[in-house]
Symmetry: C2
Subunit: 122 residues, 2 copies
DNA sequence: ATTATAAATAGTAATCATTCCTATTTAAGT
DNA sequence: ACTTAAATAGGAATGATTACTATTTATAAT
């Protein structure tokens, strides 16, 4: 019981209505606009469970986890100057096929993260 | 003055004599075998400066930074069961050429990290 | 060799993202 | 309405990393 909380719904909406790859703190700030007393722990717990349920993916930039409502595996680019994280596009199967050393392994997560200066910051 | 410390040399040797991608804590443990009173801060500082000087690269698995004495860009695979991190091989230029969305960007770091079960743990 | 000095270290305290804990609240089934 | 399992709020704890400072060390000039 008590499975569909308003908090989870709000967090899910935030993730699905942005392409900005927010951190937990940023999701928390946005969620507070709707639920002023939502707690940070709730944000973390729901971001985790959304990721586990396949409704989001996460990746770490520096020390900070970022969340993406788009679950299709794709590479990301982060700008070391402005901090923005952008989506890249890529045929991930083709990408995997370029690699050797995976014999006998079972791959179930793929993180591709490029860093540098974005077109606005070059 | 005081630029070539024994500590830095030991840490550099540890990185260059393993393919195990140790964390800072693991480097610290190994360095202690040679310099028992070396401090963890010194390990972090030297790992950082080695990375900045292009003598090592680092990447984050979970929450933990791992260090690699091999500075050539290459993908890594970590096993979610045993925790091992393995090197993969890949033509990184070809990998980059698969991507779109980088127009106008200046790429200066490339992290490719696959996760799953390694051949020993499958 | 001795000395002067800037850089590096050891040890410890502080930081900060994330996780854990618990009393309270909430949603769903009866 | 009542029961109960799941979720929350708020705050405390964790743990990797960084910052701080007094002390030590390596280099270069005397």
């Amino acid at each position: 019981m008590a499975r569909y909380s308003k908090q989870r719904e709000v967090i899910e909406n935030i993730l699905h209505s942005t392409t900005a790859h927010p951190s937990a703190a940023e999701v928390y700030a946005k969620a507070k606009e709707v639920i002023p007393n939502i707690s940070l722990g709730t944000v973390y717990r729901n971001l985790d469970s959304l990721s586990h349920d396949g409704e989001a993916q996460s990746f770490t930039v520096g020390d900070i986890a970022h969340f993406d409502g788009n679950i299709a595996p794709h590479p990301h680019f982060f700008c070391t100057k402005c901090g923005r994280v952008k989506d890249l596009e890529c045929d991930m199967d083709k990408l995997l096929s370029l690699m050797t050393g995976l014999d006998g392994c079972e791959v179930d997560s793929e993180t591709v993260l490029l860093g540098g200066l974005c077109s606005e910051c070059v």
